[in-house]
């Protein structure tokens, strides 16, 4: 008789064989569905036009400036160092940066509007504005140089791009602005397997 020839070991293996076979059957049942679809929700930061050479920061373009170079207009105007509210021009600038004690010419150079000016009178290009910020915000400036404050992109072990203070903080109104959050995760009670397959069928039928 055949079953007499089977050892206990072989008999034990039979259920295993069945499982393996069933797994194979199950396995071959997997389908592939290549579909195309929804809109991308991700925005990409385009700040990679900054170049960093070890410790020296060379931003190519600090901030987009509609009016730059300022001298286009200001070279023909007589500088007026009197503190006042601007009416004819630049009245769209919302100034909320210690406005009680400061005004335009606290940072912009009176006689050469293409430059910024430090408290000590030294002129700065707009791409070095972080030094100007650092005059008052010493600890933040220190943290920024160390990479604690602010944002760096690129390589964690190589070339990094730094964002300058003015990339995130409007110098005229520096408080970081809020934004609308991206969609929340779905709550567990709103997840239905049916809806998953429905949406996928819908997607796959659309061109």
């Amino acid at each position: 008789m055949l079953n007499n020839k089977l050892s206990a070991y072989e008999m034990k293996n039979i259920p295993f064989c069945i499982i393996v076979c069933l797994l194979f059957v199950e396995f071959t049942g997997c389908k592939s569905d290549a579909e195309d679809i929804p809109d991308s929700i991700i925005e990409h930061i385009e700040g990679s036009d900054l170049m960093i050479d070890s410790s020296i920061l060379i931003p190519v373009e600090a901030i987009s400036m509609d009016y730059f170079p300022c001298s286009d207009c200001h070279s023909e105007l007589e500088p007026n160092p009197l503190r006042r509210e601007l009416i004819d021009m630049h009245d769209d600038i919302e100034f909320d940066h210690d406005s009680e004690n400061r005004w335009c010419l606290a940072c912009h150079n009176t006689f050469d509007r293409d430059s910024l000016v430090l408290a000590g009178g030294k002129l700065l290009g707009f791409n070095e504005s972080y030094k100007l910020c650092g005059q008052c915000h010493g600890p933040k400036y220190r943290d920024w140089k160390l990479g604690i404050h602010g944002k760096r992109t690129g390589e964690w072990n190589g070339n990094k791009q730094y964002l300058l203070c003015v990339h995130c903080h409007n110098p005229h109104s520096p408080k970081f602005k809020g934004m609308q959050p991206l969609p929340a995760p779905r709550e567990p009670e709103h997840i239905f397997i049916d809806s998953i397959y429905e949406s996928q069928e819908k997607d796959s039928t659309s061109p």
């Binding site: 076979c21 404050h149 760096r152 690129g154 969609p183 998953i196």
Partner: protein
């Protein structure tokens, strides 16, 4: 071999064992026939593939090529699957500035896109918890489903939680098949082909960082990130657990993780814990740093801090 005594029922010509045996033979032959007729060698090789750590160079190459073929068939897109080895003398660490995060969820969605996560059912590695400033870090009263017009909301702060890449990882300890382990650079990874989907690791993880593919992941072909890693962002299958790997496919090539790159407030910091000059070490030295659920002794490589 011990002879088995046969007791036969007087009215039946076949006993239970005979029946089982023939049924097994029958089933297996039908099954093998159907397998052989419908299966290609890639599927058989997938089934018999070894554990990632036991693959030699040649086998690994074959596995990666096979995966690329299979993804090509499935998504009709050329997906490159690599297996970049860890960099020597590097242990990755992550910093998150709780004083700056505004809860915009840009990281969550950048991560979904970078890591080819299922859009439906939703799989997200990062969960941003909204907390009340009055209560401090209080998970019980936190809300991950906040959806106001604008963030940050008055009186609230936001705490993104993702895999903490623990040194003493409970998820690694409980895996019955060793499908998850800690790489030399400190990243806890999963062999998605070896995972049996038992979800023990999900029960063990105190951070809810592991996600299970309850259904076939839905990934739109035109949104696939084609630069993938075996241990990282390659598309997953139904029935496996997956998790944040600090974007292993990026960081092992020197790039920052996707969440760090996208964060509009610069709350997220990343670097080499063994490099004293790295941003993360500077933060650990100079700022108020804490680790999440310290009392559980998981010893994360993920540090929350207050940059103010």
């Amino acid at each position: 071999m011990k002879a088995r005594k046969k007791i036969q029922h007087p009215h039946k010509s076949i006993d239970r064992r005979d029946f089982m045996k023939w049924m097994a033979v029958g089933t297996s032959s039908i099954a093998s026939l159907s397998v052989l007729s419908s299966c290609n060698s890639d599927k058989i090789n997938t089934f018999f593939q070894d554990h990632f750590k036991e693959l030699d160079e040649e086998e690994l190459k074959e596995v990666l090529e096979r995966l690329e073929r299979q993804y090509k068939e499935q998504y009709n897109t050329d997906i490159e699957v690599s297996a970049t080895p860890p960099i020597e003398s590097v242990v990755f660490g992550y910093g998150l500035d709780l004083s700056k995060c505004i809860g915009c969820r840009k990281c969550v969605h950048a991560c979904v896109k970078e890591n080819n996560l299922s859009r439906n059912p939703e799989v997200q590695y990062i969960k941003v918890l909204e907390m009340e400033k009055d209560k401090g870090v209080d998970v019980l009263h936190s809300n991950p489903y906040y959806d106001p017009e604008q963030v940050p909301e008055e009186g609230h702060f936001y705490m993104p939680v993702q895999c903490q890449q623990c040194r003493n990882a409970p998820c690694v300890k409980v895996c019955p098949v060793k499908a998850t382990w800690t790489e030399p650079d400190g990243i806890v990874v999963v062999d998605y082909n070896w995972c049996i989907g038992c979800r023990n690791c999900m029960a063990a993880c105190p951070y809810g960082a592991r996600k299970f593919n309850w259904a076939d992941p839905y990934l739109p072909a035109d949104e696939i990130n084609t630069d993938t890693d075996y241990l990282g962002n390659r598309p997953k299958a139904k029935g496996v657990v997956e998790k944040c790997t600090f974007c292993i496919q990026r960081v092992r090539k020197g790039k920052y993780p996707a969440c760090v790159e996208i964060c509009p407030t610069g709350s997220r910091k990343f670097g080499n814990l063994l490099d004293e000059q790295s941003e993360i070490r500077t933060i650990m030295k100079n700022k108020r740093v804490f680790i999440f659920k310290e009392e559980l002794n998981t010893q994360p490589r993920f540090y929350y801090f207050y940059g103010t």
